[in-house]
């Protein structure tokens, strides 16, 4: 049921991924959140290079806990993607092909994804310990001064995610919830402990 995929994402794979697909991601991904995004887009605006070659790459919106001794990474779950929306179209223009985070994206991001053929994966918020166990190596690429917000390169193995928005713009956050409106009533009778 899970589709195993590897990064960087090639064009054919991106075309095949459909909203709702469950995937296990292996390969290199780059963790960056608010402050690193601001620095990257400031660099682009100033005509400077990004600290890594973003072409074909995947960015993961996350900032971890420090690792306990003997562990590669501390808990490392996704943060809310919407805060990165204002920085994202510029990165898609540079060749960014995948994003991992949680929650909705705005229309400008989805337009950019359609235009450049990119995909947005939802990771599960609040399972940072589990996600940490899929991280095999970790290297700070830039902005070390930002602490937990630094730009970090991760090598992951079987990182669990769901295709939330595919490269045609189909959006699971739009299509799924309406199917369950009013359905709770039917469940309450089965299981009183819910209330």
């Amino acid at each position: 049921m899970f589709k195993k995929i590897t990064t960087p994402l090639d064009e054919q794979l991106i075309q095949e991924l459909k909203a709702g697909d469950r995937v296990l991601i292996s390969g290199i991904i780059y963790a960056a959140r608010d402050a690193a995004h601001k620095k990257m887009t400031d660099a682009l605006a100033a005509g400077e290079d990004l600290p890594f070659d973003i072409n074909g790459q995947v960015i993961y919106y996350a900032g971890p806990c420090p690792p306990k001794p003997g562990m590669v990474a501390g808990p490392f779950g996704p943060t809310t993607s919407g805060r990165m929306d204002r920085y994202t179209p510029a990165l898609l223009d540079q060749g960014l092909k995948g994003m991992i985070g949680k929650g909705l994206r705005d229309a400008a991001v989805i337009d950019g994804m359609r235009k450049h053929k990119a995909v947005y994966f939802a990771a599960i918020g609040g399972i940072g310990a589990l996600i940490a166990s899929t991280i095999k190596s970790l290297r700070t690429v830039a902005y070390e001064e930002l602490g937990a917000e630094a730009l970090v390169e991760l090598q992951v193995e079987d990182f669990p995610a769901i295709v939330a928005i595919d490269c045609t713009g189909r959006d699971l956050y739009d299509s799924e919830p309406p199917k369950y409106i009013g359905k709770f009533e039917e469940c309450i009778n089965e299981e009183k402990v819910l209330l």
Binding site: P64, I124, G125, L130
Partner: protein, 280 residues
């Protein structure tokens, strides 16, 4: 009069923040299991399974359940017969937070200034709420509060004429607008009455109450259930990807208010709702 060295508070603050971050509360675990049984969405069930698996893994490894180990919220209720010795109480609380976040490998998420955003490096200062009661006991409650859900919280000054319908509409609308952002399944704390800040305070206090408890007043216990039904009928589901498990509980706390007003606050927390308490 009872003397208490603030070093005792420091030790407890440290212990409670580490424990709260590693171990999911048993009442939340029970609710998750109950909802897992009846969740009708495939993705929803898969998400709930992963959440339960994560909680077990975090507890086994003694690592944080979620990397957002929060801003450190502390409620301290002390008897008026207690005399704290050995230095500043607030400094002791912050020292406890500092030690917990350093020695517990927890993320430091606090910035010194809301606009000039430089990390303080040790997750201090804590947000501390003091209250004084008769007697000579000290009750300490800690809550590492994540901000994905905090950002989705809201306060509204309703008109008395808006009544219970206005309260229901505001609470449900706040959850609907929050959608996937607060990492559903969520827990909804509602504060009704008092003043603007009192309602907000109550909504946070409400999140400390067990999920298998009810408001002591039958009227509000019913309102808690009405709100939970309406919220779980929204379809948002686990992670906002559809389903019936949007909220695990709605907890309401109330306070007398002015005859011209009806303040209502909604404080949301994610499924990784972490809190611990001790009476010393």
């Amino acid at each position: 009069m009872r003397e208490m060295d603030v070093a005792i508070i420091r030790e407890w603050v440290k212990k409670l923040f580490m424990h709260a971050n590693y171990y999911l509360c048993d009442d939340i675990m029970k609710k998750l299991l109950a909802y897992r049984k009846v969740e009708v969405s495939d993705i929803g069930r898969e998400v709930l399974d992963k959440i339960l698996e994560n909680a077990r893994l975090a507890a086994e490894s003694e690592i944080a359940i979620c990397q957002d180990t929060g801003i450190s919220v502390v409620f301290i209720e002390f008897g008026q017969e207690v005399h704290f010795t050995g230095g500043s109480l607030e400094e002791a609380i912050n020292a406890g937070v500092r030690e917990a976040y350093a020695e517990g490998y927890l993320r430091k998420s606090v910035v010194r200034d809301p606009l000039n955003r430089v990390n303080t490096g040790d997750n201090t200062p804590a947000v501390v709420h003091y209250s004084m009661v008769p007697g000579e006991k000290v009750k300490l409650q800690v809550m590492p509060k994540g901000f994905g859900s905090e950002n989705m919280s809201a306060v509204k000054m309703l008109k008395p004429a808006d009544g219970v319908d206005g309260v229901v509409e505001f609470v449900v609308e706040t959850v609907r607008k929050a959608g996937s952002n607060p990492c559903p399944p969520i827990i909804v704390g509602v504060g009704i009455g008092g003043t603007m800040e009192k309602a907000a305070f109550l909504s946070k206090k409400a999140l400390l109450r067990r999920l298998d408890s009810q408001n002591r007043d039958g009227y509000y216990a019913n309102l808690e259930q009405t709100l939970l039904k309406k919220i779980n009928n929204l379809g948002i589901g686990p992670q906002g990807l559809g389903g019936i498990t949007t909220a695990l509980a709605v907890n309401i706390e109330t306070y007398p208010t002015h005859f011209a007003g009806l303040p209502v606050a909604v404080n949301i927390t994610c499924h990784a709702s972490r809190h611990e308490e001790v009476e010393i």
